[in-house]
Each structure stands twice: as structure tokens, then as C-alpha cells.
Amino acid sequence: MGLLEVKDVNKRFGGLQALGNVNLSVAENTCHAIIGPNGAGKSTLLNCLVGKLIPDTGSVMFDGQSVLGRTPFEINQMGISRVFQTPEIFGDLTVMENMLIPCFAKRDGSFALHGIRSVMSEGELRDHAEQMLDDVNMLDKRNMHSASMSRGDKRRLEMAMCLVQNPKLLLLDEPTAGMARADTNNTIDLLKEIKEKRNITIAIIEHDMHVVFSLAERITVLAQGTPLVEDTPENIKGHPKVKEAYLGEAA
């Protein structure tokens, strides 16, 4: 029984079968990559996991509980954090404030009316957030206006915001999209470090095979909304069906 169990999920948009009978199992403490050509349904699947979309049929179980019908914030409270393809951070807030918000969410739940207490008086949470910032080497930037940072820093901040919640499952949506090679390698190192340090389960959607093969322990290949194969990276590399799917796309 994996941490995340997707069973027979179907999703149609009008005449388009976006997902057809998807089955997926992500085991605890592994890094599981989902790859596939454009339009394979990777993003749709991800959206079904986090509550943005509801599958037409099938079930999605996380940690023994169904996520279907729950809103994104409820699913986050269950322990799933998501990193977006383009960094989604609170641009009007400082880096430190960006970090504090997930800390509050973790401690107080989805809503708490602390209207009088001062943010400054939350020593414990602040220490926690600073620790995390230190882990991603951003402590010196904590008072910066987050919108004014570089894209790479925004990405690191977003990742830190997800990690500070100590999620059971971290979902990464093309975390290196549009990055230069050096940055990509840095990200890979960061993710590896996180994984080793924190014993965290990661599900990653990625185009870049270099990233996938450096990180993933299991790989699921999606094509036209259906999983083709699921296997270890070594086996996937030479798999004829995978080649066909990617070549088919190229042709």
C-alpha cells in the first residue's frame, strides 16, 4: 500500500479523454517521476491529486484517506504540498513573511483569527522559518521583497515554503522548466539533499530526462492519458513502448 494510491481515474473534457484508467501507486519515501509527451495528461493528473480537478470516476487515496471532493487547502492540510511550474509565491510580501504563512497553516490549520497577536511575537515559528531559509541558503534574503528576486530564488523560496510544512508528499511540477543547466543541477542537488535529510516522498512531473534519471526511483510513463509502463529508471531507459511514445510525438 503506497502513500498515494490512484485507482482507475478517468477524466473527460468534452470529447477529450484526458485521463483514462490511470492507476498509480507512490510508495512512501521514494521519488516517483511521472513523464510523458506533451498532452499526455500529466498536469491533469496532478490537478486531480491536489483538488483542483475532480476525476469523473476512480479514486485517489492519500495516506489511507480519499482526497476526492476536498479543496486544495484541505488536501494540503492532509500533507501534500505542491510546487508550481512557474513559482507561485506571495510577491507583495517579504521572504520571511512568505515563509511564515505555511508555518501558520501547519500550526493553526486552514483558518485562525489571530487578529491581535503580533507576528513578531511568534518566536518559535520564526526560528523554524529561519532554519528552513538557512537550509536553502536564503537567510540573507529574508527581509527582501520577494517579487524583486530572481526566478531561481523564487523557485527556492517556493520549495522552502512547501518543505517548511514537513509535507508527507511533495508534488513538483516541472521544477526545472526554463532553467539554465547550472541552475538545473543546483536544483537536483537541492532535491537530493532534501530527500536524504528529510525522508520525504516526492512525486515529480518532468520533461527533462536528466533530472528524472538523477532523482527518480520509480517512473510512470503517461501517454494519451493512460499509463504505459511503470518501472525503475534503468528499465524505463530502454523500454520500446516509451521510445515509441516519445518518437511518435517527435514525428
Partner: protein, 399 residues
């Protein structure tokens, strides 16, 4: 001090001092002098300054922090006034129950309207609030006349029950609102040389409440809740995926700001026990938007400044008529005098709306941060002259 950091505490202190000495500060010109026209230190206007300050502070908690632009906030002010006047009619002329009921009623009203309106955001939210407020106005002006007094407004009468107070005063008049025997209109005048300063009990009562309201708003701005509200404005998607539900946060902000409006309405009724439906018209909601923007949206003190500026224009500038103008420029040769008066007249006196519109546009175009930003720019300009300070990237978004 009071759980505020040094900067906020000194801001609060400055505001408290300004408010306490307002009767002096607003009456800088001696009685009877030509400039006395510009004095604003009389009770009614001073009360209005602080009451609309409260209204704008509350509006800013919603608009400044969450970015939700409500175009129907005056409805809560109106509801608050109606509730307060009804308390005066039914219960007693003590202002405390009236103000408390005003806040509660406005809060409930805000909860209902907010619950529905906050299901949408952006322009849709604005239109929804506008629609609710316009409905409130239209109904209050017409079919609800038995409750609201309609066109003439809800006012006190000699035959009101007032179960905990006397229906009439000893000399056969309607009693006036007060606080345990002290009447809101009690005033003390101090004449110093040519100056006359008026210290009005009602003003100081409102001023203390305003300071409390201001203090609370600082606390809200600096609280986790305030931070969440700014996060709502900044990126709702991220907030959702961070495990936070934006809806109760925005609703709480909406209700709190509605209660501020109700408080302002209750105070207005306490200073002047009449509630009119025009208070709820959409242009009245537009006015508080103007105040907040003029002063500086999202800043702590801006809304209060904006409220003061608009009320000053409405009450002082609008009263300058052509005779007064001719008086000012009498020293000029006749033809020139007429010319100058003709050029200025469209903008003041009855043309004050025009000036307001122009000032407002200029602020939105050039000073999106309002008067506060203007002040900061000025200060920075001065500061740079003094010493070439290193440019710091540090900005305080909520200052």
C-alpha cells in the same frame, strides 16, 4: 508599548497627540480674521474628521489588505446609524447601547452580504457589493419608510418610548444623546487673545474611540491575520495550496471592516441623532474609496488623512462663495480682480466636486500610494539632500 514596535507606537502617539490638540491645530487663525474662513476647529467638523477616519480605517482593512474593492460599504454605515437611532428611540439616550447595537447590526449585515459577495472576486465582487448597497438604499428610501423614515430620515420624536430614559426633557424638548449625564454636545470654549478654541465632549468621545479603532487596526496589520489578508491580495492560489482557506479570512476582514463602518454610523447618530438613506447611496460608498485612495491605500494613517482632506473640502472649501473671493482679491485692480475670481471660482465653493475629482485623478495617476507616499517621497527627497544615504532595498509593504 501596547504590544507595538517602536515605529508603530510612535505613530500611534503622534496621532493621539494630534487628535488631542486638534481644537488648537485646526483653528490656527484668529476669530474674525480673513483667514478664519479656513478654520476647521468647530465640533461638528472635528467629529466628522474622526468618524470618517474610523470609517476609512475600517475600509482600509478590507481594501488595503485584501485588495477587495467594495463599492457598497456605506450600507453598513447606514445600517449602523439606523440601529443607533432606534436605540435612542426605544431605549435611552445613552450612546453606549446605541453604539454597541450599531456595531453588532452592521456586523451581522456585513456577514450576510459578505458571505454572498465574497463568492466572487475582482470587479464581480465590486458589482455585487454595489448591488447590495443600492438595494439597501432603494428600499430604505421607499418601501421601508416605516423603519427608516425614508426621505426625511429616521429621527427622534417627543412620543418615542425610551423605556430607560425620559421621553422629553424638563423643558419639553427631545433629549440629546449623552454618556451618563454628559451630553455629546457639551462644549467648553477657551478664548486666548483673538483665538477661540472649542473643546467638545462629543469630539473627545469620538476621538478616543477613533484612537482605539486605530490601535486595533495597527494590531490587525501586524498580526498573522493581517499577514494572511495581504497574502490573499498577493496570491490566492498559493494561499490555497499552502493549506489556508482564503474565504473565512476575507469574510472576517469584510465583517470587521463592516463593523468599523457600523461603529462610524453609530457615532454619527450619537453626535447627531438622525439617520438618512442617502448615507447608503453608492456615491457615499465611492466617497470612502476616495478617502482611502487619497490618503494612501494599505497604509496605516493614510485613510485618516484622506477622510480629513475630503471632509475639509466638503465643509470648508464648499462654503467659499464669490463674495468672499471678491473680498480676498479686493486689493487687485478691478478688472484683474474679476478675472482672478472668475478663474478660481469654478474650483471652489459650489465647484468643490470638480476640484475633488481632479485631485483624486492626480493622486491615482501620480501617487498610487496617496498622500502618505507623497509625504514619504518628500521626506526621502529631503533626506537625500541631507546625506547621500545608501539605497536600501528594504521596503515595508504595510507601512
Amino acid at each position: 508599548m501596547f504590544g507595538l514596535d517602536k515605529k508603530d507606537a510612535s505613530l500611534l502617539l503622534i496621532v493621539a497627540v494630534l487628535v488631542a490638540f486638534a481644537p488648537f491645530l485646526l483653528n490656527p487663525f484668529p476669530e474674525g480674521s480673513a483667514m478664519a474662513q479656513f478654520n476647521a476647529g468647530y465640533p461638528d467638523l472635528m467629529q466628522r474628521f474622526v468618524i470618517f477616519g474610523i470609517f476609512a480605517i475600517g475600509f482600509n482593512i478590507l481594501f488595503g489588505l485584501t485588495g477587495y474593492l467594495s463599492f457598497g460599504h456605506a450600507a453598513f454605515l447606514g445600517v449602523g446609524s439606523y440601529a443607533a437611532v432606534w436605540m435612542f428611540k426605544l431605549l435611552s439616550m445613552n450612546v453606549l447601547p446605541a453604539i454597541i447595537l450599531a456595531v453588532i447590526t452592521a456586523g451581522i449585515f456585513a456577514l450576510i452580504i459578505g458571505y454572498v459577495s465574497l463568492r466572487r472576486s475582482g470587479i464581480y465582487f465590486s458589482i455585487l457589493t454595489l448591488a447590495f448597497a443600492q438595494m439597501s438604499f432603494a428600499l430604505a428610501y421607499s418601501v421601508l419608510t416605516p423603519i427608516t423614515g425614508g426621505e426625511t430620515g429616521l429621527q427622534l420624536a417627543l412620543d418615542d418610548p425610551r423605556i430607560f430614559g425620559s421621553a422629553t426633557t424638563a423643558d419639553g424638548n427631545i433629549p440629546v444623546p449623552g454618556l451618563f449625564g454628559l451630553e455629546m454636545r457639551d462644549s467648553m470654549e477657551l478664548a486666548l487673545g483673538g483665538w477661540v478654541f472649542t473643546f467638545n465632549f462629543g469630539y473627545y468621545f469620538c476621538a478616543i474611540i477613533m484612537l482605539v479603532a486605530f490601535y486595533l487596526s495597527i494590531r490587525i496589520f501586524r498580526s498573522p491575520f493581517g499577514m494572511m489578508l495581504r497574502a490573499v491580495k498577493s496570491n490566492q492560489q498559493r494561499l490555497n495550496y499552502t493549506g489556508l482557506n482564503p474565504r473565512p479570512y476575507t469574510l472576517a476582514a469584510f465583517v470587521i471592516s463592516g463593523m468599523y463602518a457600523g461603529l462610524a454610523g453609530g457615532l454619527m447618530a450619537s453626535m447627531d441623532p438622525l439617520a438618512g438613506a442617502e448615507r447608503m447611496f453608492w456615491t457615499a460608498s465611492g466617497e470612502v474609496v476616495l478617502m482611502t485612495i487619497l490618503g494612501g491605500v494599505g497604509t496605516l494613517i493614510g485613510p485618516v488623512l484622506g477622510a480629513g482632506m475630503i471632509k475639509y473640502m466638503e465643509n470648508i472649501i464648499s462654503k467659499i462663495n464669490s463674495d468672499i473671493l471678491h473680498g480676498w482679491f479686493a486689493f487687485l485692480p478691478d478688472g484683474l480682480e474679476d478675472l482672478v475670481v472668475t478663474m478660481i471660482y469654478p474650483f471652489i465653493g459650489k465647484g468643490w466636486h470638480l476640484t475633488l475629482g481632479i485631485v483624486f485623478m492626480l493622486v491615482v495617476i501620480f501617487l498610487p500610494g496617496g498622500l502618505v507616499e507623497g509625504g514619504q517621497r518628500l521626506a526621502r527627497l529631503m533626506g537625500r539632500k541631507k546625506a547621500e544615504q545608501p539605497k536600501s532595498a528594504k521596503t515595508e509593504p504595510a507601512e
